[in-house]
């Protein structure tokens, strides 16, 4: 009995300690991200890596998501003789929900895992220690630019996702199923409010933070050996995907 309580206690304590460590890490990287001078050159490089290089995946997933929304939406709405609302349905689900979430999940898989592996390899190759010996703060040099890069790129990618998805819905709804083009876009314009757009944007900023935070943290604390890198990459992808979905629920319930 006592042993069980002890085992549980140890696990809980370890989890709490890990959470504390992550919070301190977040605080350190955010505060050094805003401390002047902002390493603009490094941030631009990361925007290129996280943002530009994810474009293809985002465009691909967005167009198919939009197209499937068009199909499913048309099928469902026709039951209520409300096919005319297809434009609103596609746009609102993309802008409020699917755009931010799916783009965040795609970025986690494409760029987040690479962030973890890159920093993890630097950790086990003693490159982070080498930075330390030169008197260079590795958090400021490695982590902060990646965090800023993600904070800039993820909302932009989500916006692109939204636009491409809406076009995908248009392709299916209007070009394939013969809905009136004016009705598709007219209903959309009437029902999408500025708040929908800003809520979606806020979500994707939060997701950008979650992804970069989890993935850089896991890479930074990689255990020794090549196995360490694969372990931290896997756990970074799993944890940040789960946190994105949990964060999505919490944010939606607060923002609605």
């Amino acid at each position: 009995m006592l042993a069980l309580a002890e085992a549980i206690g140890t696990r809980v304590l370890r989890k709490i300690r890990a959470m504390g460590g992550m919070t301190i890490f977040l605080w350190a990287s955010l505060s050094s991200a805003v401390a002047p001078p902002v390493p603009l050159r490094h941030v631009v490089k990361q925007v290129h890596f996280i943002g530009v290089k994810s474009l293809f995946v985002i465009v691909l997933t967005a167009s198919f998501t939009g197209m499937v929304l068009g199909l499913q939406g048309y099928y469902t709405l026709r039951k209520f003789a409300a096919e005319g609302l297809l434009g609103s349905a596609v746009a609102l689900s993309l802008i409020r929900e699917l755009g931010p979430v799916l783009s965040a999940l795609m970025v986690t898989g494409r760029a987040g895992s690479a962030l973890t592996a890159e920093i993890g390899i630097m950790r086990i190759g003693e490159q982070i220690d080498a930075l330390e010996t030169m008197g260079i703060d590795p958090i400021r040099h490695l982590v902060s630019p990646r965090m800023l890069g993600a904070l800039v790129s993820v909302p932009l990618l989500a916006s692109i996702f939204d636009v491409i998805g809406i076009l995908g819905g248009y392709l299916v709804g209007v070009k394939l199923l013969g809905l009136n083009q004016g009705v598709y876009f007219g209903q959309m314009e009437a029902s999408v409010m500025l708040k929908d757009v800003s809520d979606g944007l806020l979500k994707s900023i939060a997701f950008g933070l979650i992804i970069s935070w989890v993935c850089t943290f896991k890479g930074y604390h990689t255990a020794r050996g090549a196995e360490g890198v694969s372990q931290s990459t896997t756990s970074a992808v799993v944890l940040s995907s789960v946190l994105v979905l949990i964060g999505d629920y919490l944010l939606t319930s607060v923002l609605l």
């Binding site: 080498a130 010996t133 030169m134 040099h141």
Partner: protein, 271 residues
């Protein structure tokens, strides 16, 4: 032989400059456990100022871990690390970063940044820590690369280099800021004999120019006795002997004798 009679062993006769002040680095009762195993077990050691100190010992004796303590990369479980009397274990991060500017370090694995080519690796500390112009940086980096025999390799990336080239590039990077204290973890392991001797004589040449304090881990026994003033023998996380090179070479300690001669029979049995 007393401290003041030291001659520069590597170069033969020349009299050494009189060091200013006490030891450059002092380790006081240093204890460190990693993964539950005691790696450093009460290390007491003075690193003489402005001398070349060699650290020798078996593989896994704790040499690399001890070297990392000297620059504050590892925090000891107990004990102190004094650099010019300042305890590294009590410093805040910014203070630690400031004191590290006086150090140069070569890691056992090289630790080159693999996203940068050799030239940029060597230029990295200059770009990050000085306000030098591009022309000056180029000149200094090319000079260092030439010294370690890597003139043509500036545009190669670390994964295109041989193990010996990685080590030489890392040595160039460690020296590029002209540090006061140079910590070298096996600078000559894996080099062919000609390059090894030219690296050692480069180190010696640099020593005469800048008179820095140097700690060099090495497995080049007995050669290393000709290239260092002071030798520290480490075994199982403890200092067996720390004395001028001659004295260690002539020591009658059975372990030291076995290490120097590489005898299979002796106090240490591996098989």
């Amino acid at each position: 032989m007393t401290e003041n009679d030291w001659v520069c062993r590597p170069c033969g006769l020349e009299k050494l400059p009189e060091p200013q002040g006490g030891p450059a680095i002092r380790l006081v009762d240093l204890v460190k456990a990693l993964d539950g195993k005691k790696v450093l077990d009460g290390i007491d050691l003075d690193i003489p100022r402005q001398r070349i100190t060699a650290v020798i010992g078996l593989s896994g004796a704790g040499k690399s871990v001890m070297l990392k303590h000297m620059i504050g990369l590892e925090r000891p479980d107990a004990g102190r690390v004094l650099v010019d009397g300042v305890d590294l274990t009590r410093l805040s991060r910014p203070e630690l970063y400031r004191i590290r500017r006086r150090f140069g370090m070569l890691f056992q694995g090289g630790a080159l940044f693999d996203s940068l080519d050799v030239f940029e690796n060597v230029a990295f500390p200059l770009r990050e820590k000085t306000a030098l112009g591009e022309a000056e940086i180029r000149e200094r980096v090319h000079m260092r690369l030439a010294q370690v025999g890597l003139e043509g390799a500036g545009e190669k990336f670390p994964d295109e280099l041989s193990g010996g080239m990685v080590r030489r590039a890392a040595l160039a990077r460690a020296m590029v800021m002209d540090p006061e204290i140079l910590l070298l973890d096996e600078p000559t392991t894996g080099l062919d004999p000609i390059i090894r001797n030219s690296i050692l004589s480069l180190i010696c040449h640099m020593y005469h120019q800048h008179c820095f304090t140097m700690v060099m881990i090495s497995h080049d026994i007995p050669d290393i006795f000709c290239w260092s003033h002071h030798v520290v023998v480490l075994h199982d996380g403890k200092v067996v002997l720390s004395a001028p090179a001659e004295e260690v070479f002539r020591s009658s300690d059975p372990f030291v004798r076995q290490l120097i001669h590489g005898d299979i029979a002796g106090p240490v049995h591996l098989m």
